[in-house]
């Protein structure tokens, strides 16, 4: 292929990538997400549990909680209203508990006779007139309020039985309040209007709270506003990622620019490296978006970092090209082509195995890296080799190679031996962690606010709470409600829809308990009310309400007053399932259709399964690489070629253990990279026949760029990036140190020559 055709082909490829990417982004089909749950596979074992988890998770993700800490009660209501108004002005509505209670009261007041406590129902069933008369007298005779629509207080007693906090709760400015350590803590609950994972929404919410807090401090210097919610954690993680990536990538870029400037003393090599990396990232992004429709920000970060690998191809070509400036580009390309192709094959092999892990994050990364690496290889073959040439008389690299100093023969094995012993000791201390919570970066102020809010709201009931819940399945919603209610009786407590909405048969039983009062034109009711001096209209109004039609359970469940409980109802193919919470867990001997789901344990199990599958995939990749390398170098030669990568991976794991860092799915991704990079170093050295010093120098340069781009991530505040950076940085360094041990003479000379010729022709 001549120069024009090569460059034309490359331009066409680049254009295709640009058009495809622009097209996908323009029509909104593709997006970049930051939701960590989208990295997890769908639960295949229990789709109903997955749906319930998704519903409660969505409700949880939108949740905002603030706690206003006031030094005393003076002016508390005004301060609370003022803060709620300040938040509302910036688009955050905090729902007052007084409004919620009023809505609930209005909801039940539509047909108050259908909602009774068990004790009241039993009393009414026994003697409706006597029971009504007794409670009516109490309502009238006790000092204080009287509700003519609930004259005997039956609905008030039902409302008192609804889930609520302990008796220590009061109210301030319409919001629940309690005293803790001599200070009034007022809880404000709200929901986000928008996607909590959207960066703009996160910034708007944070700014609204900052403004409200500043406003509060201006009015009351000793008052404090704490706030929390998944959106704040998501924002903290995003901010940490952005800060780290800016800081670390700037440091890495500066280091690499400096390195290239010092070695090649020209702009073109640096442009070649940046151009190759940029094209590879764009190609990887386009392929991931085309295949998955979306890409996670973490995949993008890991993928981009992983493509630091493709710089190796550029570096090897450039060093060979600049080492012999008088010879043609073809000469340099043919010197590195076998190493590049073998490196590409083995790296692709390692990443391809990640496709089998069944983990969206790893599959996305695999597609991203495979496409990126292939693009980088093509870029060097088609473009870089044609466009980058040293200036005439530029012999700096050649002179550097002549002055090469080698380590004394005993130093390398001694250093590697020491590292091996340390790593072996570290392996005994290596902890495997699959807890997803450990992957977030939580700044101290965010953690403090969350802790204060958790302490304050500990005994407030709600659909939040822990990650454990109970699923109650039934053919219809009434059967599910009845099953849930009997489970709560059996367990002695519980939070679920049935606490607010009795099933249809229970509501019918409640209405029927009143029958004696309302038969024969409600004469019994009229007599009792008249005896206490009530106007006849009171009996008439109660009778009309008693005889009004009651909506169905489904209609009631759809009511706005119960909107916050809607995530607890899961519609299934066979009926309904209710999500409930039991404070003490599931008791023994539960009825069929009831089971406990531990969402966090599910996620941990998923992570563990993915890590295990990933580990098997990586080991399989190593085995396959060994096969390929054995085909080329013989079994012992193949084993030696693979040894630096294996030693790098082993040491990286051992050093993780020594540093107290856990082995998680992200360190596993790092190990895949160590495999690819480590194999590359060994292969480039091993494949260098006539230009061993150039190959050694290129490997040193490649290792330095790798440590700069991967190793710096070990200093990230994000545990996921830290685990990845530490594993990759240490692994790559050790693989580099060990690489010359694989670059010895062929083990099976004749056979290898045969394979070399065939392979070289292909390269």
């Amino acid at each position: 292929m001549n120069r024009r055709r090569r460059l034309g082909l490359a331009a066409l490829g680049l254009l295709a990538i640009a058009v495809l990417l622009a097209g996908m982004l323009a029509n909104g089909r593709a997006r970049i997400t930051t939701d960590i749950f989208e990295l997890l596979p769908e639960s295949r074992r229990d789709p109903l549990a997955a749906q319930a988890m998704a519903q409660t998770r969505d409700a949880f993700f939108d949740k905002l909680t603030a706690v206003l800490v006031l030094p005393d009660e003076a002016g508390a209501a005004d301060l609370v209203r003022h803060t709620a108004d300040a938040l509302a002005e910036n688009g955050i509505e905090m729902t007052s508990i007084a409004e919620q209670m009023a809505r609930l009261q209005a909801f039940y007041a539509q047909q108050p006779f259908a909602f009774l406590t068990a004790a009241d129902r039993a009393e009414l069933e026994l003697d409706a007139s006597a029971a009504f008369s007794r409670h009516l007298a109490a309502s009238l005779l006790r000092p204080g309020g009287f509700d003519p629509e609930d004259p005997a207080g039956h609905l008030a007693r039902f409302l008192a039985g609804l889930p609520r906090g302990s008796a220590s709760w009061s109210m301030a400015g319409g919001h629940p309040a309690r005293w803790i350590d001599g200070k009034l803590h007022v809880v404000l609950n709200g929901r986000i209007d928008g996607d909590p994972m959207d960066a703009q929404v996160q910034e708007d919410v944070a700014q609204a709270f900052e403004l409200a807090a500043a406003d509060l401090r201006a009015t009351c210097a000793s008052c404090v506003l704490h706030w929390s919610g998944p959106i704040r954690f998501a924002k903290a993680t995003r901010n940490a990622a952005e800060t780290d990536i800016t800081r670390l990538s700037t440091a890495a870029t500066l280091g690499i620019v400096l390195l290239f400037a010092m070695i090649f003393r020209a702009v073109a090599p640096l442009m070649a490296a940046i151009g190759t990396l940029a094209t590879s990232v764009l190609a990887g992004l386009t392929a991931s978006l085309a295949v998955f429709g979306q890409i996670h920000a973490l995949t993008l970060v890991f993928g981009t970092t992983a493509l630091g690998l493709c710089i190796d191809y550029v570096v090897h070509f450039l060093v060979h090209r600049y080492a012999r400036p008088r010879e043609s580009s073809e000469h340099a390309l043919s010197a590195v082509a076998p190493g590049m192709l073998l490196g590409l094959t083995t790296s692709c092999m390692a990443f391809a195995f990640l496709l089998l892990s069944g983990f969206p994050a790893l599959s996305q990364l695999a597609v991203f890296a495979l496409t990126g690496l292939a693009t980088a290889w093509l870029s060097v073959r088609l473009v870089i080799s044609e466009l980058v040439s040293p200036r005439r008389g530029d012999t700096f690299v050649a002179r550097l190679l002549q002055r090469e100093r080698r380590l004394p023969a005993s130093v390398r094995p001694a250093v590697l031996g020491l590292l091996f012993v340390a790593a072996a000791f570290g392996m005994t201390r290596l902890a495997v962690v699959d807890d997803v919570r450990g992957l977030q970066a939580v700044p101290p102020d965010v953690a403090r606010d969350a802790r204060i809010i958790d302490q304050t709201t500990a005994d407030l009931p709600g659909i939040g709470g822990g990650a454990r819940f109970v699923l109650i399945e039934a053919p219809d919603i009434d059967a599910a409600l009845a099953r849930e209610a009997s489970l709560f009786v059996h367990a002695g407590a519980g939070f679920g829809l049935s606490r607010f909405l009795p099933d249809a048969s229970l509501r019918a039983a409640n209405i029927s308990a009143w029958t004696d009062l309302f038969t024969e034109d409600a004469s019994a009711l009229q007599d009792i009310l008249a005896r206490f001096g009530f106007e006849p209209r009171v009996a008439a109004a109660l009778t009309a309400r008693y005889r009004s039609a009651l909506p169905s359970t489904s209609q009631l469940a759809e009511s706005a007053a119960l909107a916050s409980l809607r995530p607890l109802v899961v519609a299934t193919n066979d009926g309904f399932a209710l999500v409930a919470r039991l404070p003490e867990g599931l008791p023994d001997n539960v009825p069929p259709g009831v089971r406990e789901v531990d969402a966090l344990a599910e996620i941990e199990t998923t992570f563990a399964a993915v890590r295990e599958r990933g580990a098997i995939a990586v080991m399989s990749a190593y085995m396959l690489m060994l096969l390929i390398l054995s085909w080329r170098y013989g079994f012992r030669g193949g084993l030696r070629a693979l040894m630096p990568a294996l030693l790098g991976a082993f040491t990286a794991m051992g050093l993780l253990g020594l540093s107290g860092l856990p082995l998680n799915v992200f360190s596993l991704v790092g190990l895949v990279l160590v495999l690819g990079v480590g194999a590359d170093y060994a292969l480039f050295l091993r494949e260098a026949r006539n230009d061993v010093p150039a190959a050694r120098f290129a490997t040193l340069l490649a290792a330095m760029t790798s440590v700069l781009s991967f190793g710096l991530l070990a200093f990230s505040s994000l545990p996921a990036l830290q685990a990845f950076g530490f594993t990759t940085g240490s692994g790559v360094l050790v693989a580099f140190l060990a690489a010359p041990l694989a670059g010895r003479a062929p083990m099976r000379g004749e056979a290898e020559e045969v394979q070399t010729e065939a392979f070289d022709r292909a390269a």
């Binding site: 009660e73 007084a98 007794r134 409670h135 005779l141 000092p143 204080g144 008796a167 109210m171």
Partner: protein, 183 residues
């Protein structure tokens, strides 16, 4: 011994309660509600004990008792049955009873937790204090309380209810009693 209760500058001098003693007064309660065709008039007796004990009895024409002992509120219904009242069922009840106890024991902090003084003045019958609920749960049931007293006696009290009704109490002079003694 006299306890000084300072309510926004108004001084109500009441006899303090030594251990084992209590205060007692008869009252007439008149309740007016929009739903009632005529006011409901009741006779009863109020009794305050030193340790947060309040006993509110209606004696005629119905028998009803409302008693506070520490954190427990118990009511005895006209048919003689007793039940514990949940705070959430009638949130104003605790406020009312603690307000009474605090006022008559001279506990200003206990009083201001529930009510704040919004107006004071003098009439021919004595000093008048108008209170508004400081607690939002109490405010759901009542909008204001007006107290009429002279130097040593609580004379009358009027509760304005959120639902539009009023309850007026006229008190006999407070007398000492022995704890445990029932009249």
């Amino acid at each position: 011994m006299i306890v000084m209760l300072l309510l926004a500058g108004v001084t109500l001098d009441l006899p303090a309660l030594p251990d084992g003693e209590c205060l007692e007064a008869g009252f007439t309660q008149t309740r007016t509600l929009p739903a009632l065709s005529r006011p409901l008039t009741l006779k009863g007796r109020l009794r305050i004990e030193r340790d947060n004990g309040l006993d509110w009895r209606i004696l005629a024409p119905y028998q009803y008792r409302f008693a506070v002992r520490g954190a427990t509120i118990t009511e005895t219904l006209p048919d003689g049955t007793s039940r514990v009242v949940d705070d959430a069922e009638a949130p104003w009840l605790r406020g009312m009873s603690e307000m009474f106890s605090a006022m008559l024991r001279g506990d200003e902090a206990g009083f201001t937790e529930w009510f704040e003084v919004i107006d004071t003045g003098s009439t021919e019958d004595g000093q008048r204090i108008r209170l508004a609920p400081a607690n939002e749960l109490v405010a759901q049931a009542m909008t204001a309380i007006e107290i009429l007293h002279d130097d040593a006696h609580l004379r009358a009290l009027r509760i304005e209810e959120a639902g539009g009704g009023t309850t007026a109490f006229a008190f006999d002079p407070l007398v000492h009693c022995e704890t445990g003694e029932t009249r």
